[in-house]
Symmetry: C2
Subunit: 512 residues, 2 copies
Amino acid sequence: MSSRHGRASPLFSPAGTGITLDLDCMDALEVPGRQRLDEALRAMAQLEAGALANLDEKRQVGHYWLRDPDLAPTDTQAESIREAVERCESTARALLRRFQPTAVLHLGIGGSALGPRLLLEALGDTRPDTGVPARSYRVLDNTDPNGFCGHLATVDLERSLVVVVSKSGGTVETRNALLTVRRAFDEAGVAFAARALAVTGDGSELHRLATREGWAAVLPLWDYVGGRTSVTGPVGLLPAALLGISGRELLEGASAMDAATRLPVDDNPAACLAAVWLAAQEDRPRAMVVLPYADRLQSLARYLQQLIMESVGKKRDRAGNVVRHGLTVYGNKGSTDQHAFVQQLRDGPDDFFCTFVQVLCPGAADPVLENGVTAGDALAGFLEGTRQALEQDGKRTLTIAVDRVNPRSLGALIALFERAVGIYAELVNINAYHQPGVEAGKKAAARVLDAQRALVAVLGDVPESADSIADKAGVGDPGLAWRILRRLAACPGRGVRRLAGDEPGEDLFGAG
Amino acid sequence: MSSRHGRASPLFSPAGTGITLDLDCMDALEVPGRQRLDEALRAMAQLEAGALANLDEKRQVGHYWLRDPDLAPTDTQAESIREAVERCESTARALLRRFQPTAVLHLGIGGSALGPRLLLEALGDTRPDTGVPARSYRVLDNTDPNGFCGHLATVDLERSLVVVVSKSGGTVETRNALLTVRRAFDEAGVAFAARALAVTGDGSELHRLATREGWAAVLPLWDYVGGRTSVTGPVGLLPAALLGISGRELLEGASAMDAATRLPVDDNPAACLAAVWLAAQEDRPRAMVVLPYADRLQSLARYLQQLIMESVGKKRDRAGNVVRHGLTVYGNKGSTDQHAFVQQLRDGPDDFFCTFVQVLCPGAADPVLENGVTAGDALAGFLEGTRQALEQDGKRTLTIAVDRVNPRSLGALIALFERAVGIYAELVNINAYHQPGVEAGKKAAARVLDAQRALVAVLGDVPESADSIADKAGVGDPGLAWRILRRLAACPGRGVRRLAGDEPGEDLFGAG
């Protein structure tokens, strides 16, 4: 299955994945050492067997079960997964037939958007006859009225489906998108519920709403699947089915990579990858630069940025010690970025390691253009040239070669990084499966909106200083009050008037 | 013009820009010190007066002249700029009338793509009746056959314009895009030249081709304008005109910011910005995270990533000392990223400073959705909450508030960062205007393609090892030979056959 001999030999080529890892990790494996790696793999095995791996939230971590339901600790869990896979396909089939949709509005943020976006950009246009075109699959992943408006203005609601993905069902951004989209359907007199699908946790607010209103389908998001590892569940499988992408092949590729990443350390590409990441932090912090040389994999960097930074960017280790751990990930695509930040990678500080992703065979025709070379040859030449230059300069690189971008290889790629993150987190003793900072961010925003309501409520006809208004409203931070009032006053129709003083701090605000 | 008093007062609010900088830089200014900042501003004044600021390439640096042609050292330069502004508008008007295009294929990479993309994403759909819709303005910024194919398959060539942007006219990626697009026009029997526009340097290969074939227009890209600072020239103004965006207002905004960033240090927002960037590197390297809370400004982070990293990511300072300087930039948009890497910003290491960009007034309707708040209020709440949390945690932030996203404020934003980069580069004594690593990358890729041609030329019917083939072909690196042959063999129709040995290193390759 894998081999590490021969000068030019690839180290790992797991069967059934279509992926080859050119990853020289013999030295890196010594950084954590075989024993800690063995322990990490044992911990991963326990996690797969249903241990409460996310201790803070007392949750199991079951994304590996999604592609191998037999692994799930209980028959009920296994059956629920199998049934969901079926229902993603049958629901999509029925809705594609019934509405012949020309667009899908996908409402979700974070893990509820990044996986679907990765699938649609990588594979959305490979089977255009069997699903909605990728370009018409719109992801509304924010609470920006401009974003909402831009999408709503350019789709035919009558022939649009709406997919709403939220685990808790209470995510503010997704909730606002839902309220906005729904209002547009109502105003256009187009029936919403028949075109709406929810992917959400059992008993969530969204679950109750969708059930009550009789939406076209409600698909499960289980407690044991985190957002950033949810793409091989209904979060990814439903969009895949709507786009004509084979979810089964995605699952097969992920399952094949899962098998390869359960092997002993020396044969395990994910263990080696995790060791390489750790070794890259040994003498100084190094960011992971992700450079797929392929337009279709452009959002891979952003997908991995979330998967890795949200998993390992943590204040405390599992023992409660303050460690302030992080592993910065950024990137976009080659060769495009060679005309941008790659200048710094080549000539600047040794503060990164580069993960090249090469697609060996383009999906499109790649005719000879000039001098015997094709566009794809040039792309490969740029990758190889950059890789050589970085290595000659003593910088670290690794290359993942993908035979072709298809559901199988993409599933395998996703599973590889999921497992590598899990192992890496074991090595640095961090809970990779919670996100306390994200939760805190939601609460902080809610407090700001409380302050806004309080300020607006006490606003009078006679303009006053922000200090005075903050005081009346019981808002402790006058700077915040000033910023909130300044923003509202900048927009007509928000009921706030600003009289500028000689100095900005002397502005007066009133109702009007 | 600017003020720094009052607790909640914004520091800078340059007239005519629609931008307010909340940038507490009093301490940061002490890091380089007033004297070095004064010197940097004097150097910027000399640069604007026509000094050979890019010494390595013996070039003037004249992007500031683009919005104030009177500043250009010679009347010829000034006249050429004025004429180009006119011609961008008149050419676009004529072509929009003649072809009523439903799509534009924009061929360019690096600075020839990022500025246009920023404009089209930020402003492309604000005046839909007067130009091509943003969604139909396609940027082909790579040499990936999949990317080419995806765009070509979804536009009507008869009603498409083609904009080709390349300063040297020889950029491989853009050249390949041109050959591919042209071939598609030829195969469809649609006249290419009448629909084609070039933006390129005088006398370049592209210039000669376009002139010879009588393209619809050839617009100038002057020697004294670098790619990453070209957006206020025809590189940005032509796309703007095709999209119905006012180039004049873009220039006015940039010019207003230029005026504000020529002021003495204490009144100069760009000097303060540069000082803040430098101060952030004082005790450890810190990356610049760019977080616009606005869907339309999503590509700002990538634009700034190129502008900054390509400018200051350098091996040597201007005295020739090896300094390995860099300033890493990454980001995407809020609140979206709060469900991704912001987890690490909040809880992880203090290795970044966050540049928030807030849009005070959304361009779209922003009705109250629930509990008295709008989608835009929620967006503002997320920004404020995250900003507070980062600051409470001792992390560095600065906020740029934009009244509205319009050509004026976008031009001002671009000019602000252009000037800040110039000043920063002066402070660290780096030539911000060349990109030796990018040039080296092009040459390295060319050598790889030479190797490919040599290998394919000696390939025989009897399969041989990569070593042996490399030897015959005079390719010194057998690992490279193996990787090239492996890739070609993975694609049907490339004339290379691979017989796998027991070990990957023992593969044999032959013609077939």
